[in-house]
């Protein structure tokens, strides 16, 4: 253990986490095909109790975390949400609810306001009912509009988050217009990151380069038109950018995620990485988890890197990109993120992009690309049954 710690020495100034992300539950009424919850979420039962969450909130705040996000799954499925928000608020966190909107009734909104909730991030899937229903396998389009009004009527700042992919990217102008009409202060156009369920459905979701260029131009037009009425973030599509991102702003640097069963992670998908163990808040305090655990120290700083990262001039800037992406695309979690042109696995990414181009070229109706493809390769919807099926398939392969 000692010698390993020398190699993976943390960055010289290790600060406490600023963000505590409380994933209260993996349960969710939606079945989004790009969900970032782990594909095997259904095997992780045994949610933390109210009193365990209260202790987590207290320990995180004592360390100095200032932002607290309540997410899931759908956090509104926990009926102790109000109680947890009230405790977080009273401890001095800025409290963020990250929700699909399902379950945010007028009565619950009023209780959350009373509890001190500071901000709501509402997910939208599209500007059309058809695509909303298609990618979530739910009938929630009208409900989301109502929830947006409830959020505004309570005076919360509203962030609308829309995951962008091939099935909605052509609607981006209308999506922006809709968010502005609903009164959002911020709009996040989050190009899909291909992990978890989005990785399973990548062929269906990956847009073409031309679509991305047009989407960004359209976004810029709307930025100019709306001025500072609504801030729009266009989260860069990293397969196409060929530029590794400084994932999570550095491993174990800002974010501390606690999963529904109490596993502590440096990011919400890190659980997929092989050969790493992550501590559970039921067994260990947050302080020890953050500063001392192997899981949190493993990829801190640059000491863990190998070539081409270790001699790269940009290594401090991008920290080698995303570890989960490195593992998913190259099979090696210690490799350079294959989105980087210097990676020996970069051809995997260029091939995926080329495949997306040829699929688009073979699609008769570009405005409805899903119609011809669905029969060939159906979308796989997030849900407990699919989760268990995919898990057992994976175990058979091993």
């Amino acid at each position: 253990m000692k010698s390993k710690n020398v190699i993976t020495a943390p960055a010289p100034t290790l600060n406490p986490p600023l963000w505590l992300l409380a994933e209260l539950t993996y349960r969710c009424p939606l079945h989004c095909v790009f969900c970032y919850n782990p594909v095997d979420f259904a095997v992780h039962q045994n949610e933390l109790s109210t009193s365990e969450w209260l202790r987590v909130l207290q320990e995180g705040r004592a360390m100095g975390a200032v932002q607290c996000g309540f997410s899931g799954g759908e956090p509104l499925l926990r009926d102790d949400l109000e109680l947890l928000v009230a405790e977080a608020h009273q401890l001095g966190y800025y409290t963020n609810l990250i929700t699909s909107g399902v379950g945010l009734t007028e009565a619950r909104a009023a209780r959350l306001k009373l509890a001190g909730l500071d901000h709501v991030q509402l997910s939208f899937q599209d500007s059309t009912r058809e695509i909303n229903d298609l990618v979530t396998r739910s009938k929630t389009f009208g409900l989301k509009q109502q929830v947006a009004h409830i959020i505004k009527s309570h005076g919360w700042p509203m962030v609308i988050n829309v995951v962008i992919h091939r099935l909605n990217i052509e609607h981006i102008g209308r999506i922006i217009e809709m968010a502005a009409e609903l009164g959002a202060e911020y709009l996040e156009l989050a190009n899909t990151q291909y992990y978890s369920w989005a990785h399973v459905n990548r062929d269906q979701l990956l847009p073409t380069r031309e679509q991305l260029v047009r989407a960004e131009q359209e976004t810029d037009r709307w930025r100019e038109k709306l001025g500072d009425k609504m801030r729009i973030f266009f989260v860069s599509p990293d397969y196409h950018e060929a530029k590794p991102k400084k994932c999570m702003n550095g491993w174990g640097n800002i974010f501390l995620t606690i999963t529904p069963d109490g596993t502590a992670l440096p990011c919400h998908t890190a659980r997929m990485l092989p050969g790493l163990t992550f501590p559970n808040v039921r067994d260990m305090g947050l302080n020890e988890i953050w500063f001392d655990s192997d899981g949190f120290n493993r990829y801190r700083g640059t000491g863990w890197m190998k070539e081409p990262c270790s001699s790269c001039a940009d290594k401090e800037k991008d920290l080698g990109g995303c570890r989960c992406q490195a593992f998913l695309l190259s099979g090696d979690a210690n490799a350079a993120d294959p989105v980087c042109p210097k990676s020996s696995h970069h051809h995997v990414v260029t091939q995926l992009i080329a495949d997306a181009e040829s699929r688009a070229a073979g699609t008769a109706d570009a405005s409805a690309p899903w119609t011809t493809e669905q029969s060939v390769h159906p979308l796989i919807y997030r849900g407990p049954k699919e989760s268990l099926r995919l898990k057992s398939e994976e175990m058979k392969k091993e």
Partner: protein, 89 residues
């Protein structure tokens, strides 16, 4: 823009607080945080809807036994309004 007879306050959705771990004032907003240096923290602390801008400047000058702070404070408040951290009551 910087009418010194008006009162400013921290905008709804933003929160100013002292963080002992960071040893500074911070301004919190949806999913983000700005760390403030001492003078920024002292100015924003007084954007509480009670002081006019003129009173705010006088109070700062008295508290820190300084004079001629007006230009610096107005420049900061101008930036703070552009950032949407504060607005007029």
């Amino acid at each position: 823009m910087s009418d010194i007879a008006n009162r400013l306050r921290i905008r709804a959705g933003f929160r100013l607080q002292w963080e002992p771990v960071q040893d500074c004032h911070v301004l919190l907003y949806p999913e983000g945080m700005v760390k403030l240096n001492q003078s920024a923290g002292e100015i924003l602390k007084r954007c509480n809807g009670e002081y006019t801008v003129a009173e705010l400047i006088t109070d700062l000058e008295q508290t820190f036994q300084a004079s001629g702070l007006e230009q610096e404070v107005l420049a900061f408040l101008h930036m703070a309004q552009q950032q949407k951290w504060v607005n007029y009551v």
